[in-house]
Amino acid sequence: MSPLEIINTPTSELLERASALKTYGMRFAQCHAQHAADNRFDLTYSFVEDATGRIVSLRLNIDPQESVPSVSEIFPCAFVFENEMHDLYGVHVTGISIDFQGGFYHVHYPQPMAQAPAQPAAKAKSAASEN
């Protein structure tokens, strides 16, 4: 299993670092959003080196209102995942090569995963069952 390589990246350096990874020969595998501390989002962009199986990830910590530049100009395949981040989490991604403006996923509730995780309740439940 590839050791964890996560590089904390300022939003302003995302495109530059993604471009450098492409030049190095890495393939864009995916990006996803997740909730972070202080009501912020962590965005993780993962890249794979096929010859070795090495996985490198760029990690952005953003405010939910902050805009993030699209990497789809560098990796055209990223439009699927960037639209997904927008539709499920409400992440504002600017300049997506094919921007569905929130219409990529037909979901019943807008941005269904933007709701804070049910972790507080889950933690309480877990603590209760362990005691």
């Binding site: 590839s2 393939r27 993780t44 096929d50 199986g53 996985i55 395949c77 996923y105 889950a122 877990s126």
Partner: protein, 362 residues
């Protein structure tokens, strides 16, 4: 330049087992652009991880896809094992690969039948599915289920397969191989098949790489992308592993790669059965994933690379589970392959990518 027309394709279409929508922009009969849309069957399985015990979530993970069900339970288990530093017993590693390669065979045969049916070769469809039935019978004998096996778990597998049973599986596969070769000969030498598939939906190696394609779709365009090449568990014990490649990049090449991969899977299973050691099949998994612990895992599913991410929070519930399925990675490539083709070839091109929309939307 002819007049431009937009034709909606799907989400309900005879050739599509699952709903995906394409707006096809046509100039006369030629497709000049295709705009995909998914999201009709989003199930929120990633969100569900916040409310399910991480050990029991494996039953949800294997329901991400009905065809790659074992592969998803395998991939999820691997991610949890990486998260919690669990060493899987060697016998379990071998058993997992045997089940996983059987799943690949059953997936490819299912797809081969569907593809044959789509271009009007119904007898080939029936013979392929007749052969696939034997794989399902092996699943039933060894795991009790035909599609959802529920046999893989973090730490190993729930049940062992006796060595005599493993030998019996190899015998079944040996007889299957003879019949499978006959089906392949029909498939690849028939002039009507060639006329529908050769030179259709060509994706160059450069475009395939640029658009991030994976699996047989990528390998049919000459890209040597196969997670089994760099795998660190029992796959690394294979004497040799070379991905099946073609440089043609058309529908025919994609069919050919999958057909060859079935044979390759039989060879891998035979080698695993020869090398399987005695011992335990499950390591005990205790405690909860640590707060903030993260792990990635990659799996070569029948349709291509699946990518898993898990994050713990100190409880028995995970903070985040993410799976990027092969079809999600192949959608941009599919759009690129469709551009420039005739309208009548769109169904064949979509089918040769073997899309799984349920997986993609999770």
């Amino acid at each position: 330049m002819g007049q431009r027309t937009v034709i909606p394709f799907g989400p309900q279409h005879p050739v599509l087992p699952e709903p995906v929508h394409l707006d096809l922009v046509l100039e006369d009969e030629r497709v000049v652009d295709a705009i995909p849309q998914i999201g009709f069957i989003h199930r929120g399985l990633e969100k569900l991880v916040e409310k399910r015990d991480y050990q029991r979530y494996v039953y949800v993970a294997e329901r991400i896809c009905g065809i790659c069900s074992f592969g998803h339970s395998f991939g999820y288990s691997r991610a949890i094992e990486a998260l919690m530093n669990i060493e899987v017993p060697e016998r379990a590693q071998h058993l997992r690969i045997i089940w996983h390669e059987l799943s690949r065979m059953h997936s490819h045969m299912l797809w081969l039948g569907l593809a044959a049916d789509a271009f009007g070769f119904e007898s080939l469809f029936m013979h392929t599915w007749r052969l696939r039935e034997r794989i399902l019978e092996i699943f039933e004998r060894t795991a009790g289920g035909r599609v959802i096996l529920s046999v893989c778990t973090p730490g190993g597998v729930f049940s062992d397969i006796e060595n005599t049973e493993l030998r019996a599986i190899c015998d079944i596969l040996a007889t299957m191989r003879v019949e499978y070769d006959q089906i392949c000969a029909t498939f690849f030498e028939d002039s009507s098949v060639r006329s529908r598939l050769v030179g259709v939906g060509v994706l160059s190696q450069e475009t395939a790489r640029e658009f991030g394609t994976v699996g047989p779709f990528a390998r049919a365009s000459g890209l040597a992308i196969d997670g089994r090449m760099t795998d660190t568990d029992a796959y690394s014990k294979l004497v040799a592993f070379e991905p099946i490649l073609s440089n043609d990049g058309d529908c025919y090449a994609r069919c050919w790669c999958r057909a060859q991969e079935v044979r390759q899977s039989i060879d891998i299973i035979n080698e695993m059965v020869d090398k399987i050691p005695q011992g335990e099949v499950r390591a005990e998994v205790k405690g909860n994933p640590a707060e903030g612990a993260e792990a990635f895992a990659r799996m070569e599913q029948p349709r291509g690379e699946a990518f898993y991410y898990v994050k713990g929070n100190g409880t028995k519930y995970l903070e985040r589970f993410r799976v990027r399925t092969p079809t999600a990675a192949n959608i941009p490539g599919m759009v690129a392959a469709i551009r420039g083709c005739d309208l009548a070839d769109v169904p064949n091109i979509i089918l040769t990518i073997d899309p799984c929309i349920s997986c993609t939307e999770r």
